[in-house]
């Protein structure tokens, strides 16, 4: 009888537990989308609501999981490779596509309307449509002119090494952030690396200087943006896109920021990012996922890219707003640096570059942390104390 009572008590405990924990819903009736948190977020376009109307399905049947940055989307999708949760991944770019391809997490799909997209983007991202481009941009050094005087007429990444400049700079962590990764490759393309046939890895010296001179590192572009706008933090320079100044210009009619790329002898060079979306291998909602990709490159969504994503739409027919023309370096004037590093090389060397970057960033400063001698001294002190104690005990 008492056993029954105890069992009842345990039953009650389990019941309490069950009401405390919402029951997970079966996911295969929903379209699950993985993306980053700043996608079409400012001022904001409800792509879920609009797609639900387009597809004639309830909004509740679309589940969007937002990550800090594209790097997290990719690692999560790779970790779930054997039991994919997501149907669609949005935000994998022209660097990460090589990792995604090697991991075999995506399934090629040529969407309806692909012929209207810029064909060079398709070629550069994935000519087999493993990913479909939806927007693109050029990484740039973005600064607030009201808090920082600027870089003059010519600009190279060398300018960021200056301690005064670096101490105002925010860079994104290339291990997590696609913007950080793009900036890493920009630096490799600009400075050179042994893997590119150069005699030394001078790009590492650049990063070492940034770390030594107090550049801040954030996990994502969104975090960097928050620091950039926080006046108290005094970080008025960040790595963003050439299109970033268009935000103020388009929304408020004026902008106090400027974004620059490398400029030498009147010629601009920069690292282009092409963002794409793709369908996961093993997706349980393939038809709906295809419909979503089709819709994402349609005029309905692509016309929202300029105003909510502050990137260039992949659909060629969308007209560039005047506020972009007034506030940004024309993308057509920028020579892509991407051709310096082939996709194959990225695929082979990226892990090594990231490991080297981490080592350089970490080893750049010691900040009072001692070397081996400290541990030797501490061990000696402990040994002396222990020996002295033992002698005392033996004496007693």
């Amino acid at each position: 009888m008492h056993t029954a009572k105890l069992t009842t008590m345990l039953g009650i405990a389990l019941f309490l537990l069950s009401i405390g924990m919402p029951v997970p819903q079966a996911q295969n009736d929903k379209l699950v989308i993985y993306t980053y948190d700043s996608l079409l977020a400012d001022p904001g376009y409800d792509f879920v609501g609009n797609f639900s109307q387009f597809a004639g399905i309830p909004k509740e049947n679309i589940k969007v999981v937002k990550f800090e940055d594209a790097g997290s989307i990719l690692t999560r999708a790779i970790a779930e490779k054997d039991s994919p949760v997501a149907d669609v991944l949005i935000g994998i770019d022209n660097v990460m596509v090589h990792q995604a391809r090697a991991a075999g997490i995506l399934e090629a799909y040529k969407p309806n309307g692909a012929e209207n997209l810029r064909q060079d983007l398709i070629e550069s991202l994935a000519s087999d449509y493993l990913l479909t481009p939806y927007d693109y941009g050029v990484f740039a050094v973005w600064y607030d002119e009201s808090r920082f005087s600027g870089f003059g007429n010519n600009f190279s990444l060398d300018a960021l090494r200056n301690p005064e400049v670096a101490s105002k700079l925010v860079v994104e962590n290339p291990q997590i952030s696609s913007v950080g990764l793009g900036f890493l490759l920009w630096s490799i393309a600009e400075y050179g690396a042994t893997a590119l046939g150069n005699s030394s890895d001078t790009w590492l010296d650049f990063w070492s200087d940034l770390a030594k001179n107090d550049a801040r590192l954030t996990p994502s572009w969104g975090d960097a943006l928050d620091l950039f706008f926080d006046a108290k933090a005094n970080r008025s320079i960040m790595i963003s896109y050439t299109t970033s100044p268009a935000y103020g210009q388009c929304n408020y009619g004026e902008d106090t920021t400027n974004a620059i790329v490398s400029k030498k002898e009147g010629k601009y060079t920069g690292w282009f990012q092409i963002e794409g979306l793709g369908i996961t291998k093993g997706s349980s909602n393939k038809d709906l996922a295809k419909k979503f990709v089709d819709w994402f490159i349609s005029d309905e969504l692509q016309s929202q890219i300029y105003g909510n994503q502050y990137m260039y739409p992949a659909l060629e027919t969308v007209e560039t707003p005047q506020c972009y023309v007034d506030s940004t370096i024309s993308k057509d004037d920028i020579v892509p640096l991407n051709s310096k590093i082939s996709g194959e090389l990225i695929n082979q060397t990226l892990d090594t570059w990231l490991a080297e970057w981490e080592e350089t960033w970490a080893n750049a400063t010691s900040n009072g942390v001692p070397g081996f001698s400290f541990y030797l001294s501490i061990s000696s002190i402990i040994a002396i104390v222990l020996i002295a104690r033992r002698k005392k005990v033996l004496k007693a």
Binding site: V65, K66, G71, E80, L217, D223, F229, A233, G368, P370
Partner: protein, 537 residues
């Protein structure tokens, strides 16, 4: 059915739990680490590993030294300095230890950030991000209370007769301190040092959020390798190295914590006379330590109320509305519900497992069984939250339902963090149950449950309640495992603060940090109501 199976049945659920969520997953980590010598070579030859391994030890040693010196003096002042308002000061000193590290960190950054209290009041500047001393300082503030509380208990039970003899022979205060007091409290100081070292050595949240990649503990290294770079082999090797060091520390800790207070039985305790000036000095010192350790909590509250006061009605409404859902991955209300749900579940299941173990021990009558259970259930204490999560991911991660059932794994990780405390606390109380009474009950034909209800339960009732509350407190503050495993909809208040840490939306993380501190404070006050709070395992 249960009756027929006898007392052995009760061991089955805890055994399944530990096997499924701890030993088997951990075996996977070993398997991966041992599958290739290349991974060991790669890790051990890496200058980055050397750097971070040494840094992990360095910051843990420095934390132990700083917290040890300040905390031991505070413990002495509490035990012998008779500070004014001791009844409030003593428990107040314990609170920071119960606060989740992430709450401490929020207050810490508020104090030191540009335009923060330090700059506004004193015009001083102290860079928190990428500064190893900031990490050490944050860890120190968190651990002072461990030393203060543990040594206070030890100082209080110093044998009075030795001091009397010493005084009669003309030994002054310093000589008695050296020859009587310090040797007596030595095992306690050592035990407190080891536990502080263990906490700092396995620190995750603080180092991840302010270390900026430049400074990593092994815990952060495992996270970066396994979660961000999917380099499971290197992660497994580092996990094994960390686990081995943790096990050495835990074994030493258990050894020295058993030696504490062994010589005090019978005699009178040392109670020196505290003059007015000594009492004033003790009070001032304790107050200073309290200001130091409480400033993160107070700063958080003040800053939250300030920002709430200056916020517009819309901004206030945004707090619990859907405005921040895109940042959190779920609604703030759901985040709070998750936290409470996990805390209550950890408490309930934690004490259920402890009760089952007691029911088993009742019928086994074997000291060896008790020893083995103590040993195998305390091992998770030597395993960090990140290693446990990594191990769980290795074993269950490829299952199709892993993502939808991830809450079970988060709960399991919370339980593994809480169970060493819960089981040890309950087994200690169980040790006070007279064996004769158990024998008589058995002779009279009472079954295990009846014996438990009538004889054992009254003895362990209090410790069960305290264990429930303490397990809930651990769950509320848990960061590493939840951060590692959780998907958007299962994040807790601690991990939500971590997500919003670098964000410019300060009101919500401040609200969460204040809420977390309030929760921890409430749990602490309830625990204190049941008697003196013990920080030991």
């Amino acid at each position: 059915m249960i009756m027929k199976l006898g007392g052995q049945f009760w061991l089955f659920p805890p055994l399944v739990f530990f096997l499924a969520f701890y030993y088997l997953p951990l075996f996977m980590v070993f398997e991966i680490a041992m599958s290739s010598m290349f991974a060991w070579q790669k890790v051990l030859a890496s200058s980055l590993f050397t750097r971070f391994f040494l840094f992990t030890i360095y910051q843990a040693i420095m934390t132990t030294i700083f917290a040890g010196v300040i905390g031991t003096v505070a413990g002495y002042a509490l035990a012998h300095g008779k500070p004014y308002g001791k009844r409030i000061l003593s428990p107040a000193l314990t609170v920071p230890f119960l606060l989740p590290p992430i709450s401490i960190l929020v207050g810490f950054v508020l104090f030191f950030e540009p335009g923060g209290i330090l700059t506004s009041l004193f015009g001083l500047k102290f860079e928190v991000f990428g500064n190893p001393w900031a990490i050490i300082l944050a860890h120190t503030l968190y651990n002072i209370s461990v030393f203060a509380k543990m040594t206070e208990s030890a100082f209080k039970t110093e044998p009075g007769d030795l001091h009397l003899i010493g005084e009669m022979q003309g030994a002054n205060f310093w000589r008695r301190l050296k020859t009587i007091t310090l040797p007596y409290v030595y095992p306690t100081i050592l035990a407190a040092s080891l536990i502080t070292f263990l906490y700092a050595f396995n620190s995750f949240a603080i180092v991840l959020l302010i270390g900026e990649v430049k400074y990593q503990t092994l815990e952060v290294m495992i996270y970066i390798r396994t979660r961000l770079r999917l380099d499971f082999m290197s992660g497994a090797v580092i996990s094994i190295i960390q686990l081995l060091i943790n096990m050495i520390v835990v074994v030493l800790y258990l050894r020295y914590s058993r030696k504490e207070g062994a010589e005090t039985e019978g005699g009178e305790y040392y109670q020196p006379i505290a003059t007015r000036s000594i009492r004033l000095a003790s009070t001032a010192f304790i107050l200073f330590i309290l200001i130091l350790t409480w400033f993160p909590i107070i700063s958080t509250f003040i800053k939250f109320f300030q920002s709430y006061e200056h916020a517009t009605t819309i901004q206030r409404k945004q707090l619990l509305s859907g405005t921040f859902d895109y940042l959190l991955g779920t609604s703030p209300l759901r985040v709070i519900m998750n936290t409470i749900g996990f805390a209550i579940s950890t408490g309930i299941i934690g004490i259920s497992i402890a009760v089952m173990i007691v029911l088993f021990l009742q019928s086994s009558h074997s000291e060896l069984n008790q020893y083995l259970i103590s040993f195998f259930t305390i091992l998770p204490m030597a395993t960090s939250g990140i290693t446990i999560s990594f191990a769980i991911l290795l074993l269950f991660g490829s299952d199709r339902n892993f993502s939808s059932l991830v809450w079970i794994f988060i709960l399991a990780a919370h339980l593994l963090a809480a169970l060493p405390f819960v089981i040890r606390s309950v087994l200690t109380s169980y040790g006070y149950v007279p064996e004769e009474m158990l024998g008589v009950s058995e002779m009279l034909g009472a079954d295990a449950v009846r014996t438990f209800r009538k004889i054992v339960y009254p003895f362990i009732k209090k410790s069960l309640t305290v264990a429930f509350l303490f397990a809930s407190a651990i769950s509320v503050g848990e960061f590493g495992a939840t951060y590692y495993l959780s998907r958007g909809e299962w994040i807790t208040v601690s991990t939500a603060i971590g997500k919003l840490f670098n964000s410019r939306y300060t009101m919500l993380p401040l609200f969460f940090a204040s809420l977390l501190s309030l929760l921890a404070l409430s749990l602490f006050m309830i625990i204190e109501g049941f008697g003196e709070f013990d920080l030991k395992v």
